[in-house]
Amino acid sequence: MVLGKTITEIRNLLKTKKISREEVFSFFIKRIEKYNPNINAFLTTLRKPESIVSDGLLSGIPLAVKDNFCTKGIRTTASAKVLDNFIPPYESTTTSRLKLAGYELLGKTNMDAWAHGSSTETSDYGPTKNPWDTSRSPGGSSGGTAAAVSAYLAPAGIGSETAGSIRQPASWSGVVGLKPTYGRVSRYGVIAMGSSLDCPGPITRSVEDAAIILQAIAGKDPHDATSASVPVEDYVLKMKEKKTYTIGIAQEYFEGLDEDIKKSLEEAIKIFEKMGFKTKKISLLSPQYSISVYTIIQRAEVMSNLARYDGIRYGNPRSFFGSEAKRRGMLGTYTLSYGYYDAFFKKAQKVRTLIINDFKRVFKDVDFIIGTPTPITALKLGEFEKYSFFGELMDKFNEPAAMSGIPAISLPTGLDRNDLPMSIHLMANYFRESDLLNASYQFEKETDFMGVIKKGIANLK
């Protein structure tokens, strides 16, 4: 009865008392028990539903939460052995808000350690496997949540991204991934990676589910000075208004794509046109620039954010740090060192401003910019280790939205020659989540994502 259902559908079953919340919860626990040993999406699971909110947006809905969100009394590791025994004494704003909406925490999901990576392979607890092909990576760093949603070990989940860590795993795992505007969702209680970039967001099986979760978690937070006071819209309501938009097509975002992905992207554009959307050729700064800017700024922030893990007050000593964290810390230390700041960090900040201005210019003419979140489909596990900057290079289409802080969404558009999911990527202007969701919802209605999401479960062994 529950298998494959979206949040909206489960909510209806619960409301009409066709099923109890305990039954919903144990349905997912049973699936986790069956499939997780192979997929390794969850690091920690809970035993029973505990919410006392019965009439919230998410009452009775179990969700998978990435293990970098602090959950009071429940182990939170960010997949790093440094925090192997860390039990937070406080709750992140995102999960607090989910609690207020009545959600059930199903478990904490695997990720790249400290969110450093695009494959979950840097996790100190072993990689998560892609449910579509367990010899492959689900993407990362929110790979655990993406794989859990894809394999329906959870109806939906929470991820976070610094540059692509929601959109890329959503794409590789064949589900929907939304990166909200920076500041739309509070970062309080999210173990920081790149503080000027980090964004919590939903990974779901439908656009409506993404809208529901965003509705629950978005908004100004007195605990996060960078959270925005822009009013939160009724995303579900606004999503369903019939609107047409102009989509910008920038050649710079079509370079270096896999043939199948390029083809499916071109088809998606045709579908939007058929739906009555206008398209417009535009020119943007090459996403190439974002790679260097992102690498410099993120490494500097990583160095700083990891400085607190000295093992004195909590957690294990520094010797528990994995090699990726050490590499990042060293590069960050270097770029901020006396005499190098101007050449690296300051220059990167200037280019970041140019990227922001570039987007602002383009969004005067178009509502969205279309592309793909990743130039290739899921890689085999182990392939990342060959290239230390592979994640950064592969995430080049995700990085511009991260650097500028604009919202973006990843939507499934079919399977490639290896039966692996592909996606398109829409970027929108600041705080235009409701438009982004509106267009995505229309695309979903039109295409049902080519059946990708449903096939994900059927495919599962």
Binding site: N68, F69, C70, T76, A78, L83, F86, P88, P89, Y90, S92, R187, Y188, G189, V190, I191, A192, G194, S195, S196, P222, H223, D224, A225, T226, A300, E301, M303, S304, L306, A307, R308, Y309, D310, I312, R313, Y314, T333, L336, S337, Y338, Y341, F345
Partner: protein, 454 residues
């Protein structure tokens, strides 16, 4: 011949006594609280915790800046200053690097400044910025424990230019700064408790004799190629003594042709000496970068003006005001203005409708503690009027008393008539005693003089 001029700059840290912490909601000013009882995820630097700046602390730093005649930055931001120490839970301190709240001010000392020798002085302020305090290490036997109650307390840092050439100037400056901070009511500025901490940076420059006069007035000189910072000093006198100790030590080394080592030294108040703590090899690399968790600030002119308007009359202005308005002796005005409460008390009495042109008398009474200032203003005034009320003199009794005293003191009368007029005071005293004090001394004197002229 070589001459030596000390070059001294100051760093002063002042803990602001805002209600809550610099970046969290923890109660502030709980120095006596149980260790680690006033902490939260933010000031403990737990994973995922974020700082939210305290607006009041920013406003108060602007106040300090304004009181020190600084330019207030309209654009300001916080930065992360990285260093590793167990009392610093995040591995970095949130501070301000290149855009401090206040810049380029000064503090002037006028001729009326009580402790000073009738010379005008001016010392420049380099900057005033805001940061968070660290935790405290407590060493007991072989153990070191950390108390994080102080972690995240707002800390204003005031940095002067190296404008001081004598330890007494430094002491005067620090005392005045302390008075100003207390006037602003932004900090307890308690040296014992460490809510005001002072670190002099000391070096000594060598000047040729013929240039001595010109050089000693200059602020535009080449700084010596070393400096010594002295920490852990908790009284103004100790600052003075530490500087004197250091200057003598440096001169001794320089005389031998050596350069003192650039280092941080501690002060041992029992022995009255400084001792080496750690040597600094050039500038520390703190890897500063803008704090991404706190957006930069833009202050409007209106806001800055509003804060400026909220400043009280500052001690030096008030000193001059007391001299001009109440005709006080500068030294008395200085004493009364050292503490805002006392100055306020004085002023509410001096301006009271029952008191006319008696400012200096009120000042004397307060300073000499003839009437307690713990009384209410009304009660003080009643006492004051009683104390200063002219005594009614019984004329008839006076005349007979004067006559009998003059008769009984023939020797004194002769002396007076032969020119030793000061003897009259003895006679006044005799009359006063005879009349049991119920006479006005000036009237007694007048009556005596009249009789003696005859």
């Amino acid at each position: 011949m070589k001459n030596y001029i000390p070059v001294i700059g100051l760093e002063i840290h002042v803990e602001l006594n805002t209600k809550s912490g610099m970046f969290c909601q923890c109660a502030n000013g709980m120095h006596e609280a149980e260790p680690n009882s006033q902490v939260c995820p933010v000031c403990l630097g737990l994973p995922g915790a974020l700082p939210v700046p305290n607006k009041k602390a920013m406003e108060w730093t602007i106040k300090i800046g304004k009181a020190l005649n600084c330019i207030i930055s309209k654009h300001t931001k916080f930065d992360r200053k990285h260093y590793s120490y167990p009392d610093l839970p995040k591995g970095y301190q949130i501070s301000q690097y290149d855009e401090p709240i206040a810049l380029t001010g000064y503090l002037e000392f006028g001729k009326n400044h009580g402790t000073y020798k009738n010379e005008e002085k001016k010392f420049r302020i380099h900057r005033v910025h805001l940061e968070e305090d660290t935790g405290k290490l407590i060493h007991t036997g072989d153990d070191t424990r950390i108390d994080f109650n102080r972690s995240g307390v707002p800390l204003a840092e005031i940095v002067t230019e190296p404008d001081f050439s004598s330890s007494s100037d430094v002491k005067m400056f620090l005392e005045e700064l302390h008075t100003i901070i207390r006037y602003l009511d932004v900090s307890e500025a308690d040296l014992e408790k460490g809510t005001m901490r002072m670190e002099p940076n000391i070096s000594v420059r060598v000047v040729e004799s013929e240039k001595l006069k010109a050089e000693s007035q200059s602020t535009d000189f080449k700084l010596p190629n070393y400096k010594v910072e002295v920490k852990n000093i908790n009284s103004f006198n100790f600052v003075k003594r530490a500087i004197d100790f250091e200057v003598a030590r440096h001169i001794e080394l320089l005389e031998k042709g050596e350069t003192p080592v650039q280092e941080t030294r501690g002060w041992n108040s029992e022995k009255g000496i400084t001792y080496s703590q750690r040597t600094k090899e050039g500038a520390h690399d703190y890897r500063y970068f803008p704090e991404p968790d706190i957006p930069p600030f833009n202050f409007s002119n209106e806001y800055i003006d509003e804060v400026k308007k909220s400043l009280p009359e500052l001690p030096s202005t008030r000193l001059n005001h007391f001299v001009n308005e109440y005709r006080l002796k500068p030294i008395d005005a200085f004493i009364l203005t050292r503490d805002k409460k006392t100055a306020d008390y004085f002023e509410s009495i001096a301006t009271n409708e029952h008191i006319t042109n008696a400012g200096q008398t009120v000042a004397n009474v307060i300073i000499n503690k003839k009437i307690s200032t713990s009384l209410s203003v009304e009660a003080f005034i009643t006492e004051f009027l009683k104390l200063t009320k002219p005594i009614e003199t019984n004329r008839a009794l006076l005349d007979t008393t004067v006559s009998s005293i003059l008769t009984a003191n023939k020797k004194a009368v002769t002396e007076y008539k032969s020119g030793k007029v000061t003897v009259i005071m003895f006679l006044v005293g005799q009359v006063m005693r005879e009349m049991k004090g119920r006479a006005d001394a000036s009237i007694v004197r007048k009556a005596l003089e009249e009789k003696l002229q005859v």
